[in-house]
């Protein structure tokens, strides 16, 4: 269409070109026309049907992952083919790009939904037993049914370990962030560089560090405290950096206004900077905590997975939810695997609750402003 117009010398003389579909009224400024919608629909249905015929009947393929991949590729091809019938080439490129771009989040969404549904489904049987929440695994044999044993010890272990780790790393991390963004000075550049570097420390290496220093060299027993230290080593740089990023976004004009009114540095930080940054800080910190809750590898090396209830982080081994899931699923016993999936569901629920709290804390502030 455009190509012919470009070469036509008399373009300016002719009246506006009639559209191919004969529509002559006011031009609608929407991104999509009805023809586009039909093209998408046709491509969607056609590619599904073709994939189904090829995959299930004609060719010797199997497996759902391959089905989805094949469908996605055919959908792109079908969209290109159908759009090419009604639109010029640059619009075909646009429609194909749209299908590619919309398809990716659809695949991710399907993966995410299948992950949550699969975990809850496999763990559902164990979740319906009340003893799952009130018992520990001491004295439970490999073949005992789901009416024996539970994960109370792992839930309590996770809460204690994360609480200690947060109590250590949150004040230190937050103060460091305040130092970096509000006090500054000569040393702060070095501190910031080193902290950014240490966020690269893989969690398993943090676990191995604590295992070597605390348990092997200092003969400290495998315990909840050692696990909390490993989590702190991993979490401190993450929290300091996240808080620093949030504090740096606070507009400098607010600080200057506060100084102009005669406030000191401490008053400015306490009454202006921190309250302004509060929603962002809360979100960043809670997300950091959620990451600590779900971290498994440092715990693997430091807690020495117990099967019994233990609320003392200093003396005996402790268990935690991620570690329980790992051991249970690896054991291969059907009842254990079911408990593992149920514990993973509990873990997901804890993360979701933390996330909700982060949203509420973040939103409450915005509403009152």
């Amino acid at each position: 269409m455009t190509a012919t117009l470009d070469h036509d010398e008399t373009t300016e003389a002719v009246p506006p070109v009639a559209r191919p579909d004969g529509f002559a009224g006011r031009r609608r400024a929407a991104g999509r026309t009805r023809a586009d919608n039909y093209a998408y629909l046709g491509a969607f249905a056609g590619s599904f049907a073709t994939t189904w015929v090829l995959y299930e009947h004609v060719l010797p393929f199997s497996g759902k992952v391959g089905f989805v991949l094949c469908w996605y590729l055919l959908l792109i091809a079908f969209t290109a083919g159908i759009t090419a019938l009604i639109a010029p080439r640059h619009l075909v490129a646009d429609r194909v790009a749209s299908v590619v771009v919309i398809g990716a989040p659809a695949i991710i969404g399907a993966a995410l939904a299948s992950m949550v549904i699969f975990t809850v489904y496999r763990g559902f049987h164990a979740l319906t037993h009340a003893n799952f929440y009130t018992h520990d695994m001491s004295g439970v044999g490999g073949l005992d049914g789901l009416s024996h044993g539970g994960v109370l010890h792992a839930i309590v272990g996770t809460l204690i370990e994360v609480a200690i780790a947060v109590a250590v790393s949150l004040p230190l991390g937050l103060s460091t962030a305040v130092y970096l963004s509000e006090v500054g000075g000569r040393g702060s550049a070095i501190v910031r560089t080193i902290i950014e570097a240490m966020t690269a420390l893989p969690s398993i290496v943090a676990g191995l560090f604590v295992y070597t220093v605390l348990i092997v060299d200092l003969h400290f027993p495998s315990s909840g405290f050692a696990a909390a230290m490993a989590l702190s080593v991993m979490g401190l740089p993450i929290i300091a950096r996240a808080a620093d990023v949030v504090l740096r976004v606070v507009p400098g004009g607010l600080r200057e206004a506060s100084y102009a009114l005669g406030a000191g540095r401490w008053q400015t930080v306490w009454k202006v900077v921190l309250p302004t940054a509060r929603p962002g800080l809360a979100t960043a910190l809670i997300l950091g905590i959620a990451r600590m809750v779900g971290e498994t590898s440092p715990l693997l090396l430091t807690t020495g997975a117990s099967t019994f209830f233990n609320s003392d982080p200093f003396t005996n081994p402790m268990n935690s939810l991620p570690l329980f899931v790992f051991d249970a699923v690896r054991s291969g016993e059907p009842a254990y695997v079911a408990r593992g999936y149920a514990a993973a569901t509990v873990l997901l629920a804890i993360v979701a609750i933390l996330f909700l709290i982060a949203r509420i804390v973040g939103r409450e502030r915005r509403a009152s402003r």
């Binding site: 199997s62 902290i195 690269a200 540095r265």
Partner: protein
């Protein structure tokens, strides 16, 4: 100015001197500044002590094994043969395949959030990506192991059967046997680097998407509208304005995701069958990464082997650090202006 006008008639007044401005901080402020500086330096000491410890641990190992530590692929503590060639290659393979899967998905999702999704849904999508970043890695491991792998092995089988001439897709086995009936003693398709990479790709996807989306959303609105006003379709607008603008974010986000993928442990340990071999056949069963080596090997380790494991961890840390530093540089350079000043 006013002072000179005021002072002019009164000749007897002493000469004007500028008011001395006292910049002495109050006690409260000095305590605050000293306290914050003290904590900052304390954290610096703790954190650099960890790095220093890891670095010092590496010295005896490197002295004992020399450069062979990097070229030896076997890990045989009983015969005092230790090397990280195989695990280093395995780590890179898993991370790179994870990126090959995650990169297109993250790029398209970031574009979808900034330029395709309706404005009302944008906030919810951003939150969903954040939530995905908080999902524990063990859950991704379970999903990859029990839900995806049984289906994904069919794809691996198909790839090795028809595209086996491409070395990474080759599997040393009879490809005409069905997936579920591999002859014993031959490599199967389960527990390979590619299977572990599927789970890892889901873990690094949120990080890559978040960085890319943030940079895309800063693309200049005026230029986007100018492109549309000139008759560009949405894709043409994205191709000519958003993608060139966001190139730094695309590279930086991908490299940050690479840094995360290198250190991923639990989902990899769950899925792979550990084997110390240097091989590029990523679809064949058996691989090992540095983190899986540490997770499986720490328990039986003697002090000298523990030092070797720490050295392997230190190498992993250095590689991650290098990748993250480059990523931070690239992202920082692509940000124009930064935060708005009031």
């Amino acid at each position: 100015m006013t002072a000179t006008i005021d002072a002019a008639p009164r000749v007897t007044e002493p000469e004007d001197v500028p008011r001395r401005i006292s910049s002495r901080e109050s006690l409260q402020d000095r305590i605050f500044a000293a306290g914050a500086r003290g904590i900052g330096l304390l954290v610096l000491a703790i954190v650099s002590a960890i790095g220093l410890f890891l670095g010092l641990q590496a010295i005896p190992t490197l002295r004992h094994y020399g450069l062979r530590f990097f070229t030896e692929y076997r890990w045989l503590p009983d015969r005092d043969i230790l090397g990280i060639a195989a695990v280093l290659v395995g780590t890179l393979e898993v991370a790179i395949i994870a990126l090959v899967i995650a990169f297109p998905l993250a790029l398209a999702t970031a574009l979808f959030i900034t330029d395709w999704a309706p404005a009302a849904a944008r906030g919810a999508l951003i939150r969903l990506v954040d939530l995905m970043a908080a999902i524990p890695s063990i859950v991704f491991g379970l999903w990859g192991l029990d839900l995806i792998e049984p289906h994904a092995t069919h794809v691996a089988h198909w790839l090795s059967k028809y595209l086996g001439w491409f070395p990474p897709f080759h599997v040393h086995t009879d490809v005409n046997y069905p997936v579920w009936n591999q002859s014993p003693g031959y490599a199967s398709y389960e527990g390979s680097a590619a299977m572990a990479a599927i789970a890892v790709s889901m873990m690094v996807f949120p990080m890559a998407t978040a960085v890319m989306r943030e940079v895309f959303s800063q693309a200049p609105e005026g230029e986007k509208e100018a492109a549309l006003a000139l008759g560009a379709s949405r894709w043409a607008m994205v191709r000519t304005v958003v993608l060139p603008f966001g190139r730094g974010g695309i590279i930086g986000g991908t490299m940050l995701a690479l840094g995360r993928a290198l250190g991923e442990t639990i989902s990899v340990v769950l899925i792979i069958s550990q084997a110390f071999q240097v091989k590029i056949n990523v679809l064949a069963s058996g691989t090992a990464t540095i983190s899986s080596l540490i997770a499986e090997g720490y328990r039986e380790a003697t002090p000298s082997q523990l030092s070797a494991l720490l050295t392997a961890g230190f190498v992993l840390f250095l590689v991650t650090l290098l990748v993250n530093t480059i990523a931070a540089r690239v992202v920082a350079r692509s940000r124009h202006g930064g935060a708005t000043e009031l």
